[in-house]
C-alpha cells in the first residue's frame, strides 16, 4: 500500500514555552490502523492537532499522497479528507444527533434548515457504516459510547478517509470497546485509514497494524505490531524498565472507618442518582468502586467529602455523623480527597506549587509565625514534599498550570496524603496521566493502606480498579449491584456485565459490604 500521509520534522512550541513536538517524523500507509502511543504529555494529541490543522507547527512539512499541503485550519484538513475524534468530545449537548452531524454543512430547503433531510443523512450514514445512533435523540441524553459513534459519523459525513481517534477507549466499558473495535475494522475494510491513540497496549496489539511510539515530544520508533512486544513498547514509551503490575500483600482489614447507610440522593432535576446505598470501608483496605461513569459515583464522592449536602441516609466517619459538618470539619476527622476533576477541585491553577501544597494546612500552627506565615518552615517543608513525591518542577514557586498533567496530579496527591489521613477518597486518581506517575500514585496508595488507612477508590479505569482494590463494589444506575470480597475471583468480562446492568447479585450478597 502507498504512503498516504507523511509529516516531516514537525516542531510545535506552545506559547507557554512547552516544546510539545520536537522534529517529529510520522508516516501513515493507506488502509492501515496505525497506533500512536506514548505517556501522557508525550505530544500525541499535539501532533494530531497539527495534522488536523487545529494547531500550526513552527517547523515541518506535511504531505498528503506525496503532495505538500498547508493545513491552516480544521476546514483545510477536512477538505483533504482528514477527520478527528477528539479526546474530549466536540459535540453540542442540546442539539440532536442529526443536528450535530450536519453542523457546518446543513442541508437547507428554501433557506431554512431541513431537519428531515438531516435525519435522513444520519440514517443513511449510520446504516452504511453500521454505526447505530438515534438521529433525533439529544446528544446530552445519550451514553458516552453513542456519543463517540456520533463523532465518528461526523467525521465520515465530512468525507473523512483518514480518521484520527484520540484515546477513544478511555471512556468505554470493555463491551463498548470491543464494539468499537469491530466498527473500526469494518471501516478499515471499507478502505479507511485510522490513526488510533491509546495508552492501553493490549488494545494496540489487538487491532493495529503498526505503531509509532512517542516520548517527550519525539518519535522514538515505528514498528510492525508483530515485531514488538507490549513490554518493549512500554519500555520505549517510558525510556526505562518499569513493572506494570503492582506488588502488594494481602489486606488485613480492621474496624470500619467509613460507613454509609441507606444513602439516597436526588439531583437538581429531580432524578434519583443514588438509591439506598450502604457499605463500609475498613481500616487497612482499599475498597474499589467500579462502574461506567455517570452511575452515581461522582455524587457518592461529593456527598462523603461534603461537597454535596442534600442527601438522605447516614454517613459516619470514625463514628461521627458528618451530616452537620462542613467540608473543613470533615477533613478535620482525618479525611483526604483526591478529586476527579483536578483542574477544578484539585488545584488552583494560577497559584504556585507551594501554595497548592499548603492549601489544606496554611492555618496549621507549625506554619505560622505569630502574625504572619512562617515562610522558612513552609519552604523547607515544601522542598521536602516535592522531593518525596518526585514532583517535576524547576521551582516550588512555579504556577501549577505550567506543570504536566501527571505532575499536577502529584501535587494533589502529595497534599492529600501528607496529612496521613485515616480515610482517603481517591476519585479517578490517575486519569489521563502517564504510566510513570500513575504507578507512583498507585504505590503510594498501597503504602497508605499498609499503614492502616481506609481507602475508597472510585475509578472508571478497570485495570486500576482490578490491580489496586482489595474488595470491590460495582455501581449501576445509582445502586450497588455487586460486592466482591476477594478480587482474585473476578474477571474483567464479568465486571463488565455488572457494570452494564446485565447481571446483579442477590440482596444478601450485596449486603455483605456493610460490615457494621
Amino acid at each position: 500500500m502507498e504512503e498516504i500521509i507523511r509529516m516531516e520534522g514537525i516542531t510545535k512550541v506552545y506559547p507557554n514555552g512547552v516544546v510539545a513536538n520536537n522534529q517529529v517524523d510520522f508516516s501513515i500507509t493507506e488502509g492501515e490502523i496505525h497506533a500512536l502511543v506514548g505517556e501522557n504529555g508525550a505530544g500525541k494529541s499535539t501532533l494530531m492537532k497539527v495534522l488536523f490543522g487545529q494547531e500550526q507547527s513552527e517547523e515541518g512539512k506535511i504531505f498528503i499522497r506525496g503532495r505538500e499541503v498547508k493545513l491552516t485550519s480544521s476546514q483545510n484538513a477536512i477538505e483533504h479528507g482528514i477527520g478527528m475524534v477528539h479526546q474530549h468530545f466536540m459535540l453540542v449537548p442540546s442539539l440532536t444527533v442529526a443536528e450535530n452531524l450536519v453542523l457546518g454543512k446543513e442541508p437547507t430547503k428554501g433557506g431554512f434548515l431541513d431537519f428531515d433531510k438531516a435525519v435522513e443523512i444520519t440514517k443513511e450514514l449510520s446504516e452504511q457504516y453500521n454505526l447505530i445512533v438515534e438521529p433525533e435523540a439529544k446528544v446530552e441524553d445519550i451514553p458516552v459510547g453513542k456519543k463517540q459513534k456520533v463523532e465518528i459519523l461526523k467525521a465520515l459525513c465530512r468525507g473523512a478517509k483518514i480518521l484520527i481517534l484520540d484515546e477513544p477507549t478511555a471512556v468505554l466499558t470493555p463491551q463498548e470497546t470491543s464494539e468499537l473495535f469491530r466498527e473500526l475494522i469494518e471501516l478499515k475494510n471499507k478502505g479507511h485509514t485510522i490513526i488510533f491513540i491509546s495508552h492501553k497496549l493490549n488494545e494496540v496489539k489487538e487491532i493495529c497494524d503498526r505503531v509509532t511510539i512517542m516520548r517527550r515530544g519525539k518519535n522514538v520508533g515505528v514498528f510492525h505490531i508483530d515485531e514488538i512486544s507490549t513490554e518493549e513498547i512500554s519500555n520505549l514509551m517510558m525510556g526505562k524498565e518499569m513493572s506494570l503490575d503492582i506488588q502488594k500483600k494481602k489486606a488485613e482489614p480492621k474496624e470500619p472507618v467509613l460507613s454509609v447507610d441507606g444513602l439516597s440522593y436526588f439531583n437538581v432535576v429531580g432524578r434519583q442518582v443514588l438509591k439506598d446505598v450502604s457499605f463500609c470501608v475498613r481500616a487497612g483496605e482499599i475498597l474499589g468502586v467500579a462502574g461506567v461513569e455517570g452511575n452515581g459515583q461522582k455524587e457518592l464522592v461529593e456527598i462523603i467529602t461534603g461537597l454535596q449536602v442534600d442527601y438522605r441516609g447516614t454517613i459516619n466517619i470514625l463514628d461521627r455523623n458528618i451530616d452537620k459538618l462542613s467540608i473543613k470539619g470533615i477533613r478535620g476527622l482525618g479525611v483526604g480527597h483526591i478529586p476527579e476533576d483536578r483542574m477544578t477541585y484539585g488545584v488552583a491553577e494560577l497559584a504556585s506549587v507551594e501554595e497548592n501544597l499548603i492549601s489544606n494546612r496554611y492555618d496549621d500552627s507549625n506554619f505560622q509565625n505569630k502574625l504572619l506565615m512562617d515562610t522558612d518552615t513552609i519552604d523547607s517543608w515544601t522542598a521536602k514534599t516535592i522531593d518525596e513525591y518526585i514532583i517535576k518542577t524547576d521551582s516550588s514557586k512555579r504556577l501549577v498550570k505550567m506543570l504536566s498533567g501527571g505532575n499536577i496530579q502529584k501535587v494533589v496527591v502529595a497534599r492529600e496524603l501528607s496529612t496521613d489521613p485515616k480515610l482517603l477518597i481517591a476519585h479517578q486518581p490517575t486519569r489521563g496521566i502517564d504510566v510513570g506517575a500513575a504507578n507512583f500514585i498507585h504505590r503510594k496508595l498501597v503504602d497508605m493502606r499498609d499503614t492502616g488507612a481506609a481507602i475508597l477508590l472510585v475509578s472508571a479505569d478497570l485495570n486500576e480498579i482490578m490491580d489496586l482494590s482489595d474488595s470491590l463494589i460495582v455501581m449501576y444506575e445509582g445502586e450497588i449491584v455487586a460486592y466482591f470480597e476477594d478480587m482474585s475471583k473476578v474477571t474483567e468480562e464479568e465486571l463488565g456485565l455488572y457494570m452494564l446492568g446485565l447481571k446483579r447479585q442477590s440482596e444478601d450478597e450485596i449486603g455483605r459490604c456493610f460490615h457494621a
Binding site: 477536512i78 478527528m84 477528539h86 466536540m90 446543513e106 437547507t108 439516597s264 436526588f266 429531580g270
Partner: protein
C-alpha cells in the same frame, strides 16, 4: 388598595404594559441573540441610547422618519461593531468592553447632542418624526381587547413580531443552528469548520440592530425627543429578562412583559399620592426580585418535594 385595582384592571393599563414593554423587549431580544452565540452584551444600554440619538438626528436632518429608523439602526450597529472589534479581535474582556461602551455612550450622546442641538439635556430643537400608531382592523372593534391590543406604535408590533422572527431564525435556519452551537460549545463548532469569531461578530451586529430599534422607539415613539440617559436602565433590565427567560425567545418575551408590567405600574401609581421617587423604584426592585426568584427556582423545589414524599 381599591385604587390599585382600579388602575390595574383597566384596558388602559393593559395598553400601557405593551407600550412600555416595547423597548425592553427589543433590548431583551438583542441580549438573547448575542447571549446564544456566547457573547454577553453588557453594552446594550449604551447601544440603545446611541440609537435613540442617531435616530432623532437622522430623522431631523433628512425629514424622513424611515431614514431616522435606519440611522438609529446604524448607530446601534456601529456601537455593537465597536464592542465586537474590541472583544473578539483585540481580546478585551467583553464585560469591561460593555461597561466602557455604556460610559462612552452616556457621555458621548450628550456631547453629540450639544454639537448638533446646542443643548445638553434634550433634543427639542431638532424636529424629528414620530412613528405612527396603527389600528388593527377587526381587533380594534372588539371591546377591551381592541383597546389593549390595537392602536399601538408600529414599532411595538415589530417588537413582538421580532420574537417570532428570532425564534424561527434561531431554531429553523442553518445560521441559527450555528449560533446556538457556537454559544454552547465553540470548540465543537470550530472543529467542524465554523468560523466562531465571524458568528459571534454577526450575533453582536444583530444585537446592535435590535437595540437600535429599541433606541428608535425610545426617542421617536415612546416620546418624540431625545433626552440625556433616556434609556434609564432598560438595557440592564433587558439582560435580566433574558436571563430569567432562560435564553428562549418566548420565555424572554414573558419576562419582558413582567418587567413592562412593573414599569407601567410605576407610571400609573404616580397619579396616586405616593412619593414619585418611591414609585420609580418599582421596575428596578422588580428586576432584583425577579432575579432572586429565578436563581431560587434554578434548584427546583420538586426535588425536595419528591424526597419528602418518599421518606
Amino acid at each position: 388598595m381599591g385604587n390599585l385595582a382600579s388602575i390595574i384592571f383597566t384596558a388602559e393599563f393593559g395598553y400601557a404594559i405593551l407600550r412600555v414593554t416595547t423597548p425592553i423587549l427589543f433590548a431583551a431580544m438583542a441580549a438573547l441573540i448575542s447571549d446564544r452565540a456566547g457573547v454577553i452584551n453588557i453594552g446594550l444600554e449604551g447601544i440603545m441610547l446611541m440609537g435613540a440619538l442617531t435616530g432623532v438626528i437622522g430623522s431631523a436632518f433628512s425629514g424622513s422618519l424611515w431614514i431616522g429608523l435606519i440611522s438609529a439602526i446604524l448607530g446601534g450597529v456601529l456601537m455593537a461593531m465597536l464592542l465586537a472589534y474590541f472583544s473578539l479581535y483585540l481580546k478585551t474582556d467583553i464585560i469591561l468592553g460593555g461597561v466602557a461602551l455604556n460610559l462612552m455612550s452616556s457621555g458621548g450622546t450628550i456631547f453629540i447632542l450639544y454639537l448638533v442641538a446646542h443643548d445638553k439635556g434634550i433634543s427639542s430643537s431638532l424636529k424629528s418624526g414620530v412613528f405612527p400608531q396603527v389600528d388593527i382592523p377587526l381587533i380594534k372593534d372588539i371591546p377591551v381587547v381592541g383597546e389593549i391590543f390595537s392602536g399601538h406604535n408600529i414599532l411595538t408590533y415589530i417588537a413582538f413580531l421580532s420574537v417570532l422572527v428570532i425564534y424561527i431564525f434561531l431554531y429553523k435556519t442553518p445560521l441559527g443552528l450555528r449560533i446556538r452551537a457556537v454559544g454552547e460549545n465553540k470548540d465543537a463548532a470550530a472543529s467542524v469548520g465554523i468560523n466562531v469569531r465571524r458568528i459571534q461578530f454577526l450575533a453582536l451586529v444583530l444585537s446592535g440592530v435590535l437595540a437600535g430599534f429599541g433606541g428608535a422607539y425610545m426617542s421617536m415613539g415612546y416620546v418624540s425627543w431625545f433626552s440625556r440617559n433616556m434609556t434609564a436602565g432598560r438595557g440592564f433590565i433587558a439582560l435580566a429578562a433574558e436571563a430569567m427567560g432562560r435564553g428562549t425567545p418566548l420565555g424572554t418575551m414573558l419576562t419582558s412583559l413582567l418587567f413592562g408590567f412593573a414599569d407601567a405600574l410605576s407610571n400609573s401609581l404616580q397619579s396616586l399620592r405616593v412619593p414619585a421617587e418611591f414609585v420609580q423604584m418599582i421596575p428596578y426592585i422588580a428586576t432584583i426580585l425577579g432575579l432572586v426568584v429565578y436563581s431560587n427556582q434554578q434548584k427546583p423545589k420538586k426535588v425536595k418535594g419528591e424526597m419528602e414524599e418518599s421518606v
